[in-house]
């Protein structure tokens, strides 16, 4: 469900990125002797250090027929490295209570390390081994492939998974974004240890690395650990980025028939990238339409007024090479037509510019005010530090974000609504036995 979880993560992202002026978090730039940069927030309240890092090395680069390679690498790099076989490596992590893991999405390959301060040196050494000397031995490779394939099988009939995979397949036909970043049963089975070694060699490099560190650690210590962990990586990756891809939105309605009581409905349209100057206006507009809190128009109209669904929401989903606006809901089969009519009506109302100053103010207050609420663990703050660097938001972003939100005007909201919302060209995928809709030919 990586793709879908990703959407949740991104939808929540704006909520982290702001800070109360009263107790500003101080972000420091640390550059190691070897030239590796990290952003750091010192926090001595507990003897704990969290590090997060990201490479531009996600499923985008998975070779044809080997989709899921980055995801399998994420699962196997901590299963034996250097002189330590899988069990020895995992036993040290467990005995020392070191949390080290990797994960991969469409665009990025990420990692997290969390440790008691007293084990920081050992943790960083294990990270270095995993990044540069992963063994990919036969036993863990076979085991992890079987686990991933079992996960793909277990999820293969989950309505949300089926629906999102179909939506992405339609929107991005011919591009890696069309494929589940976990891979398929066949593609995962086809991946070899050499493919994984090739992944490490060609994709992980210092120039596409971003690091955030939070916790009980000094800038001096961070400078040393950066070279220790990442200094052995090559300077540049061998893989080259592709160009942008335009989502092929056509207003098609696809039904995947399944004999279940409830239909899961996902819908999508072209959106914008994170770097777009209209990003904040779009964020505010979507908050009113179908965003995070329990006050959106979709929530009010679909759930509160009509009882059509338990969940309904929409969110912008910015990728490196494309932007999307996606949403989902689930309703009993007999009411799918009615539910989609309500959603399209809200799409149309917003597109026509029907939005009030009061809604604008409430949305801006929420997006700014909910901001410090998740700065309550070192890992959460480290994740924000990585996001700030990935999207080139500036080291003072935490202090500036509120002003970006406040600058959004009613005219901005109307403009982005008119530009991005087109009720007649909403791509829809329904999984279930829906009534009241006509699938496209």
């Amino acid at each position: 469900m990586k793709k879908i979880l990703w959407i949740v993560a991104l939808a929540a992202l704006p909520l982290w990125l702001s800070i109360a002026p009263a107790q500003a978090v101080e972000v420091e730039r640390v550059i190691s002797p070897g030239g590796i940069e990290a952003w750091l927030v010192q926090d001595n309240s507990n003897p704990v250090v969290s590090m997060r890092f990201a490479f531009r090395a996600g499923a985008e680069f998975d070779p044809v027929g080997k989709s899921g390679l980055a995801n399998l690498a994420a699962s196997t790099m901590d299963e034996g490295a250097g002189d330590l076989d899988s069990q020895a490596f995992q036993q040290i992590l467990a005995d020392q209570s070191i949390s080290l893991s990797f994960s991969s999405g469409l665009d990025r390959f990420t990692g997290q390390l969390k440790t008691l301060t007293e084990n920081l040196d050992q943790s960083v050494d294990l990270l270095r081994l995993a990044l540069t000397q992963a063994r990919f031995d036969a036993e863990p490779l076979t085991r992890l492939k079987s686990q991933i394939i079992a996960g793909i099988r277990a999820d293969s009939e989950a309505p949300g998974k089926l629906a999102y995979n179909a939506l992405f397949a339609n929107l991005f036909a011919g591009h890696n974004y069309a494929l589940d970043s976990d891979g398929s049963e066949e593609s995962v089975a086809a991946i070899t240890a050499d493919d994984l070694r090739d992944f490490v060699k060609t994709r992980l490099a210092r120039s596409n690395l971003i690091v955030g560190v939070v916790g009980d650690v000094t800038p001096k210590q961070v400078a040393v650990l950066l070279d220790q962990a990442f200094g052995d990586l090559p300077r540049d990756p061998a893989v080259k980025h592709g160009g942008d891809v335009t989502p092929q939105v056509s207003g098609r309605v696809q039904v995947i028939e399944r004999d279940i009581l409830q239909s899961t409905v996902v819908f999508g349209q072209a959106g914008l990238k994170r770097s777009d100057p209209d990003y904040y206006a779009a964020l505010v507009m979507n908050h009113i339409l179908g965003g995070g809190s329990f006050t959106s128009r979709l929530y009010t109209e679909v759930r509160e007024k009509r009882g059509l669904a338990y969940s309904v929401s929409s969110s912008f989903y910015p990728l490196d090479h494309a932007g999307l606006l996606v949403g989902s809901t689930a309703t009993e089969n007999a009411r799918v037509g009615e539910t989609l009519d309500v959603i399209r009506a809200e799409w149309a109302r917003m597109a026509a510019g029907e939005v009030s100053e009061q809604e604008l103010t409430a949305a801006k207050n929420y997006i700014s005010g909910s901001f410090p609420l998740t700065f309550t663990s070192t890992g959460a703050i480290a994740r924000v530090l990585v996001a700030m660097q990935v999207h080139k938001l500036g080291i003072d972003y935490l202090n500036k974000r509120k002003s970006y939100i406040n600058a959004v005007s009613l005219e901005d909201v109307k403009r982005v609504a008119a530009r991005y919302l087109n009720p007649d060209r909403l791509d829809v995928v329904v999984v279930g036995k829906p009534v009241g809709i006509v699938p496209s030919p």
Binding site: A158, R258, A330, A362
Partner: protein, 464 residues
Amino acid sequence: MAKIVRRLHIAVVAWAFVLVVSMGGGLAQAKVFDPKTFTLDNGMQVVVLPNRRAPVVLQMVWYKSGSADEARGKSGVAHLLEHLMFKGTSKHPNGEFSRTVAEYGGQENAFTSYDYTGYFQTVASDQLEMVMELEADRMTNLVLSAKDVETERAVVLEERNQRIETRPSARLREQANQKLYPKGHPYGRPIIGWRGELAALTREDALAYYKANYTPNNAILVIAGDVQVAEVKRLAQKYYAPIGAREMPARPSLLATGPIEGGETVLRDARVRQASWSENIIQPSLTNGPPMRVAALEILSEILGGGSTSRIYRALVIDQALAVSAGSYYDQSARGDGKFAFYGSPRPGVSLDQLADAVGGEARRMLSEGLKPNELAAIKKRMMADAVFSRDAMKAGAWTIGGALAAGHAIDDVEAWPERIQAVSEQDVLDALQAVLDEPRRITTRLLPQETPNTIQDGQGTGS
């Protein structure tokens, strides 16, 4: 999927992962959360957990009533009421609660469990008074229209569809719980309610449950984060203390007595493409277990099946390559009985019987061979470290203390956790394992694809 998780069920707060220990003075002097607590004249207990990392505060109100307190035939009403609590009062009508919280940037949600129901908001610390006023108001002043109830019932039916009907594994769990507890026991019915009973719930049913259970002497207020105890006291006096107490009947025991159906529950579904197995065994909880037995069961579940260095994972997933996943867990937090469980999912070509036999074999091997040198010490060290990490998250203390009190346990039950864990001996762990293996109250579940005649054999008990 990208869904709103408002009004969700929270199954269990696993104490072992949310405990906070002060390591400053060494393990022997470990403190846990060190909460400040006092009780208002109307009987409402207040717990304060100051934590100044961020200018943020969390309010939780826990009612010591959940789905277990529903009248016969009214399953789902506790959870339906939880949804309805967002509708409004005469002072704050028409969904104003959520609108106000959102306008101040606050985040909120609610949950229903067997044993309790809870509501919480996270806000900037200067907004604490706002959410305390709102939460106190809806403790007694809820206004419901028949239309509200009708619409929200439809929402909850869709929630049931989403959580249970479209998920074979959830349907299997629902069926298995009926057989694990005696006929009519509240833990044997789903928190969200049986479909037929849920569909028939009325405004009067919801209000009856509200009047019977939503009273300050049945509630716990927990405030965590950037606050002073004195300020919480002042605000609690102002908003919660004026609410009059209502007499509550003594709560019936939830400890299961009487025979259970047991055996096994099998669910075959065309939508299942990966088989799985579990064995669920009644064991003591903190309510009825000697504290040292409970601690020993916690350690047992870690050694046997907690994560990728555990005995079961090593044997089944790595060495014998029978399973893609396998392990064990233990829930000690319930107001009624606790539960110990084994679970696993096979590799291709392996039957669930083979899997179950191998899990049982590992358990029996541990019983006959005892623990390895240092095995117990390593697990204890890890559990103590987990406790340190949990301090990293501001909310952990509120969830743990709130959940313990709401299930009828004492703050001391939580505070003494590190001492109990440290005191567990090898013999304690083996005795606990013997008890798990000997316990006759158990149910096996098997989730299977529609047909895979070559790999799956039915019918045999698992004997683990």
